[in-house]
């Protein structure tokens, strides 16, 4: 291994390539590089970059690859725990899940491509995250998808929504990876700038873990999988630009088309390769294609690489090194093989009807060197290329209007003139509360027979065959809360994710995250980013869920309007014994219903306010991290002690929605409930506040005492609020402030049919 300092002295001179444009200040600017950044490049090279080198720097130093604006903030996140095997910096994070198994998991955004072409944008997003997982040596066992769109009442939004869902489904279904959960929000805050985050988790034995390194001087680099075309040239930098009205036009040539069939072959071939022992490292050619995979694999070891462009299998004639290096054609990998085993590698790929070509080799000089028919067209020290990208710590100031928005007095909404039952039906029919069945019925949720809990519960669960164990996963983020109060909003996202996991019987252990924000060069956006990351870190400390990786998507703006700050949390939990698995649905007539936690008058940022009054205002619900923690420990304890029949947390739609969902279940065997609430709160905040740290459980009456005393032990408020009634009884709620009596059929109609009805229109 050579030191970078002595390579610094030996940067080869590279002549400009015949036919390439001259590097001018304008061209530098077009590549999204600032004057200072360009100076830095001159310093690193000791000379002016060639056109090809400029493209390489611009991709590697884009926000997407270089984390210019986010790296200093991300440094503050907790990343360690005894069970963390691989923290941030690799293709994916890895944790120990027991019995010799490890879990690789990560989330990735494809917001901009999906805004331009929803079907292919979302599909290729899934493809990318799958490759991040199986290049670690893990077999993908589940995907999740976290989605945000504008309000469903415009054809454009319905087009984006259905295109994205079809794209995610068609790709994942074809590769044969079950979807196990996700979330969808509709809010004008995402109009024109949808969010498409895809998460994947994969299982492996500890010894199967492999990382993306180019090691062993002389070892061959092989391009594996699909051929390289002109797709998505500059996608990485494009993913860091604001969208403008004409982006439909402008971005056409960049659209990448996914080929899930090739992905499936690549998945099987890669796992076979990794187990064969013929390779030392493997990385997806994701954003910035060969450039990022090649330089990062080298950078991680201090080695260099040399790659010959004419050896790269291309789809179209006449591609320049610039195009080949920056192409984002899908379903490609860069493999560092063991010298002498090239043919063994080829044989495995051949079996899966895929190509593998030697395109270069590992060198000792620490230089990322690109040749075209033997002539240098780029030569850049790998380490600075991958690590010297300048980072920016900006000034963050909250927008003035926010304080006022939070202070908004919401008492005017406390009472309803009219039937509370009607209001409950309206809230249940709101697309943000209503069942997302329309979405996940388009996803294969049962392939490979691992799905112990499918979408439709608080979290999805995949069992680990041959053990008693299972892994649970959820994605959560209420962007309205983060918008109104970034730090607390991010804390609530972590808290809700953890709450969802304990409700199915899992112990939360780690998160991946996707930071979807606007343009960080704006002070109020940077404020949101900084505060949200702070809040996320604080919550992860308390819940002991370190961050093992994630993804940053900035510049999510359309014509200057930013999305709600949306730090999506993808959390993993471990189920010790599948006997503990618990679902939200009431199980038996006569069971006792209990509420753990406290109802509060906290309508701020609620779905009730948005859906019925079009307002996004008020102070989001309070969050006491320690209380929340105690509640979750109590719930998990009760579940593991076998005391509860069902558990469901309160989130969008509040207690009213939680009770309704517990009654309806999956719509197959709904049960009524007779609920009596003592709280002297006005009926609206009582039913629709989205206060944190609350879980509705049901149990056999004989276990109610044990549950109460266990809650007491944890210092968690616990109240018997009623009993489960029969299939023909309504959901009836009596409270000092008012009452509800809703037929299950009406509730089911509102909850299950509202999204299908809109989408059929």
């Amino acid at each position: 291994m050579s030191q970078t300092d002595d390579t610094q002295t030996a940067i080869p001179h590279v002549d400009p390539r015949e036919g390439d444009p001259e590097v001018t200040p304008e061209l530098v600017a077009e590549h999204g590089l600032s004057e200072d950044e360009y100076q830095l490049i001159l310093g690193i090279l000791g000379r002016a970059p060639t056109f090809t080198e400029l493209g390489i720097f611009s991709a590697m130093w884009s926000e997407h690859c270089g984390y210019k604006n986010s790296r200093p903030l991300l440094k503050q996140l907790p990343t360690e725990a005894p069970w963390v095997i691989q923290g941030p910096g690799e293709n994916a994070g890895v944790i120990d899940v027991g019995d010799g198994f490890a879990l690789a998991f990560k989330i990735e955004s494809h917001n901009h491509p999906s805004a331009v072409e929803p079907y292919q944008g979302a599909a290729t997003g899934v493809g990318g995250i799958l490759r991040d997982i199986f290049t670690m040596g893990a077999r993908p066992v589940a995907t999740l998808d976290s989605l945000r769109f504008g309000d469903l009442d415009t054809p454009r939004v319905r087009y984006l929504f259905s295109g994205v869902v079809k794209g995610i489904g068609d790709y994942g279904n074809c590769v044969g990876i079950p979807n196990t959960g996700g979330e969808v929000y509709f809010d004008r805050g995402y109009e024109g700038n949808p969010i498409v985050n895809a998460m994947c988790m994969g299982l492996m034995k500890h010894e199967e873990l492999i990382t993306a390194v180019a090691e062993g001087v002389g070892n061959p680099l092989m391009a594996v999988g699909a051929r390289t075309g002109r797709d998505g040239i500059h996608g990485a930098t494009f993913a860091s630009e604001e969208l403008s009205d004409d982006s439909d036009e402008a971005d056409r040539p960049r659209v990448q088309v996914g080929d899930p069939f090739t992905e499936k072959l690549l998945l099987e071939a890669s796992l076979e390769l990794i187990n064969s022992g013929y390779i030392v490292g493997i990385q997806d050619m994701g954003a910035a294609g060969i450039t990022s995979s090649g330089s990062e694999m080298a950078g991680r070891t201090g080695n260099g690489v040399v790659i010959e462009m004419s050896a790269v299998p291309v789809r179209e004639p006449g591609m320049t090194p610039y195009e080949i290096l920056l192409s984002e054609s899908q379903e490609r990998m860069l493999v560092c093989a063991k010298k002498g085993h090239e043919d063994d590698v080829r044989a495995i790929l051949e079996k899966w009807e895929l190509e593998a070509e030697v395109v270069g080799e590992v060198t000792e000089d620490g230089i990322f060197r690109i040749t075209e028919n033997g002539v240098d067209v780029a030569a850049i020290p790998a380490l600075p290329l991958t690590t010297a990208c300048p980072t920016y710590t900006r000034e963050g100031i909250e927008a003035e209007e926010m304080a006022g928005l939070r202070a908004r007095d919401l008492s005017e909404f406390d009472e309803i003139n009219g039937e509370v039952t009607e209001t409950l039906l309206e809230v249940m029919a709101s697309p943000n509360v209503a069942s997302k069945r329309w979405v996940y019925h388009q996803y294969d949720t049962t392939v490979r027979t691992g799905s112990a809990i499918r979408p439709g519960a608080d979290a999805g669960v995949i069992r680990i065959r041959g053990t008693r164990r299972a892994v649970a996963a959820t994605t959560d983020c209420n962007g309205r809360f983060v918008y109104l109060s970034p730090r607390r909003g991010a804390q609530i996202a972590v808290a809700e994710a953890a709450r969802n996991l304990v409700c199915v019987g899992a112990l939360p252990v780690a998160i991946t995250n996707n930071l979807n924000f606007g343009n960080p060069e704006k002070a109020h956006i940077y404020f949101q980013l900084r505060e949200a990351v702070l809040g996320m870190g604080e919550a992860c400390q308390v819940f002991e869920t370190p961050v093992t990786g994630g993804n940053v998507s900035l510049y999510n703006e359309t014509d200057g309007r930013a999305i709600y700050p949306t730090p999506v949390v993808g959390m993993i939990g471990i189920v010790e014994d599948v006997d503990h698995l618990t679902t939200p649905h009431f199980k038996a007539e006569g069971d006792t219903v209990l509420l753990l936690g406290t109802n509060r008058n906290e309508l701020g940022g609620s779905e009730f306010l948005y859906h019925l009054h079009g307002e996004v205002a008020g102070d989001p619900p309070a969050l006491h991290l320690e209380q929340e923690r105690r509640l979750q420990q109590a719930v998990l304890g009760m579940i593991q002690a076998g005391l509860v029949q069902s558990a469901h947390d309160c989130s969008e739609g509040g207690l009213g929605a939680a009770l309704t969902e517990s009654c309806l279940g999956r719509g197959e065997a709904p049960l009524g409930a007779d609920i009596r609430l003592e709280d002297d709160l006005p009926i609206v905040p009582l039913l629709f506040s989205e206060s944190t740290a609350r879980v509705v459980v049901s149990c056999d009456p004989s276990n109610a005492d044990a549950i109460e005393s266990m809650a007491g032990d944890h210092g968690v408020p616990c109240a018997r609020i009623g009993t489960v009634t029969g299939p023909d009884s309504p959901l009836s709620i009596q409270a000092p402030g008012g009452s509800v009596s809703a037929d299950l059929e009406d509730l089911a109609g509102a909850f299950f049919n509202s999204i299908p009805a809109v989408m059929a229109s």
């Binding site: 331009v116 072409e117 292919q120 699909a226 075309g229 002109r230 797709d231 439909d248 971005d251 056409r252 040539p253 659209v255 990448q256 088309v257 996914g258 080929d259 069939f261 090739t262 789809r315 179209e316 054609s329 899908q330």
Partner: protein, 100 residues
Amino acid sequence: MNRYHLEVRVVPRPGLLDPQGKAIHHSLHSLGFTSVDDVRVGRAIMVDLDADSEDQAREQAEEMCRKLLANPVTEDFSIEFLSVEELPARAGSSEGGSHG
């Protein structure tokens, strides 16, 4: 007023990957059709359309493509007239072609 039978042909834009075409091409070769040199797969949308003239019909068809039938980001379209038959004039039929 005539009834035009036309084909709207929607094909993936050049340069874009066409996985389906690739797979069919490969399969044709292994079936022995080695003289096949390229395959791209699109949609053939057969439309029967009432209009006063071929120009009017074409104009409508093109607008349908822009609005619904083709995805401008990934697909190109072409329109081909296959046949035409005359319709007995009926009241209001001249509005047949109007649309918002």
